[in-house]
Point group: D3
Chain length 150, copies 6
């Protein structure tokens, strides 16, 4: 049976830190679904119509990675996609406390769902989507934080 993991996030934008986690996750899982949480009511900084194909293009040569939008509970999305794992990156202790809460809830909602964590590679650990947005807003070059041109 295939081991399918969901890598959920808002990816506004998808950073080198996210790319690092998916790439390393491929050594563990047979398939990874990059799941972009998207709600038309919630404003994004980078347009979802542009974000989706850009993330797809990053993995064009990795058929094990697919990219989907979703707008429901992550545990429900995983169940529908027969994914028994959530893949998450941990950058620091603030991430840890937040992820701990989310992982326990997801397990309660769906007892077959295991959240698997990788610690972000140090050189990417200080990147966050919110910092990239802030830099971009001020016109800075963000090419060293994201895997392709935004």
């Amino acid at each position: 049976m295939k081991k399918i993991a969901v890598f959920p996030g808002s990816f506004d934008p998808f950073t080198n830190g996210h790319y690092d986690i998916v790439s390393r996750g491929l050594s563990i899982f047979d398939e990874i679904i990059v799941a972009i949480g998207h709600n038309s009511d919630k404003k994004r900084y980078f347009d979802i119509q542009a974000t989706l194909p850009k993330i797809k293009s990053l993995f064009f040569d990795k058929p094990q990675v697919s990219v989907q939008l979703y707008n429901e509970l992550t545990s429900e999305f995983a169940r529908k996609n027969e994914a028994k794992y959530l893949l998450r990156g941990l950058r620091n202790t603030t991430d840890f406390e937040y992820e701990n809460a989310i992982a326990q809830v997801n397990k309660q909602l769906n007892p077959n769902l295991e959240t698997v964590f990788l610690i972000t590679t140090p050189q990417f650990a200080t990147i966050s989507s919110s910092i990239v947005r802030e830099l971009h807003k001020f016109g800075a070059d963000v090419s060293s934080y994201v895997p392709n041109t935004i």
Copy 2:
């Protein structure tokens, strides 16, 4: 190719928290090697001659789990056993900071070695081997912290 993970520790003693991580790890990996770091110079509280068979007996019906002593770098032990993963539990932020350092070093020593983390189930997250030793020393009943009688 089989996915083999090493679950390293001193396990002095092996607690319900350790058991939780190995059990859950079996949904991710094909084989798990419980690797007891043991150095004859370093004193243990619980005798290694008793600890080894006890841990083995816990998994007697799980042929995917083996138990070994080792006395070398964990990354080297993993390499010899063709394990490409280390499995570790995270209980809290103190664990996180320590495990982060160890994981980066293990990856540098052996770039094919990925450390995979599960967050300990809350009811086990406040158990540690050192607390169990302290309780045992004072004659307390530790049966609710360890999976079999010490």
Copy 3:
């Protein structure tokens, strides 16, 4: 002289974690006032008109617990109610840093006001009002996180 504690929060909604703290607080204090911070300008997810009677009903057989709305500084509300203690739960290190700041300020505003902390029981420590709101928004069953039907 009676020992009266205020247990302040927005309780949007009141979770099992909150219930745990009040219940345990009753072994310390003679009376506990559950104080719902409410400002008509600030939107709540769960209606205040429904929240208030629901929290009251939880403690209908505990005359030592009362429930009030308030819209002023917590230290001032405590003073008016002759409460010399604030009761707070700590779930993790993120809570700790926040509560530390608030507790020092409350003591400076009202030197007779002591903030007393209990650490949340592990099984409730990963529940937060914001996670419950998120689950509810997506139609999930939240009955295992809150002490009565929302």
Copy 4:
């Protein structure tokens, strides 16, 4: 029924931070037992024969505070002394993680035992017994860290 709390520690030495917690604890509890964990096998820096009367002398005018040596599990000591509370100070997040583990274990050993926390007053929050010992070893004046001359 009297509310009796145990304030356990090794108090090697008893610092201004410890004094702060006991003093503030007196507004919550009817009696506080300062319980000096002492094991004749374990070396102390400051002699136990000197430490005990010094701590007693600090509270000579507070009959609600007693000072005892103990050498057993804290939960057992509390039970024998009919104390239903442990009183502990929290200085920072490192303390929090440690105290969380200890508090859960104490509650499991003795379900009637509630651990009550106060956050250390900021000016005392960076004092620890180990720093005081280090200063004393080098001959520094430690009088601003401890409530009476060592």
Copy 5:
């Protein structure tokens, strides 16, 4: 060559904690520019027209300290002002994780820019601009948190 540091923030309001860092920073740097991040789109609680002269008046007798508004990347503002240092205060571990991320990004944007940290003096470490705003909103006396009347 003069050592010029930028002390960036929104300073809404400028607290005793901020004042502590600038004052101590003067022993390290030849000049400090207090740089008020200000964007006319973003609402402040305290009016910028009042905040700017108030901060200036605090340092009227310290010609090494200047106060400026800015609305660009901090690293860019530093470059234009020939400042090779950013000065920041650290109050607690939450600050640390945030500041770590920002400092790495600033260094990547401007490799000559070094972020220098001082740990806030304990008595000021629990003050934050957001707590002062909350107190002020409820009409509390905030004079012990800010260096001059708001």
Copy 6:
């Protein structure tokens, strides 16, 4: 007046992380004294007779850096050397809590002594002397963690 900083530690061994902090500190201070805390009673892993010249050789072309052994309080050593600053690196939140305590004590012992912090460059942030010792004990190649052959 020259700005002299002491960079204290046991440096058993001196790692790339330490080297990073001293190198960056040279942009802030006129002179840096690498101060090796050494007590003949306390066993080191790497011999002090070899460590001292090795650290010196690292800075042979930087006359602003000197290396000394010391065996007294750091604040006292700084005073004797007319150093008004201590330079310290911060790797993570565990470091932060420890360094906060030490810095406050040093300031109380010597009010003119300011502790200045740099956050360790991410790629070095997971290196510690204790990990290097552990690796070396098992015969691993540690050349990527230390600036010269041990």
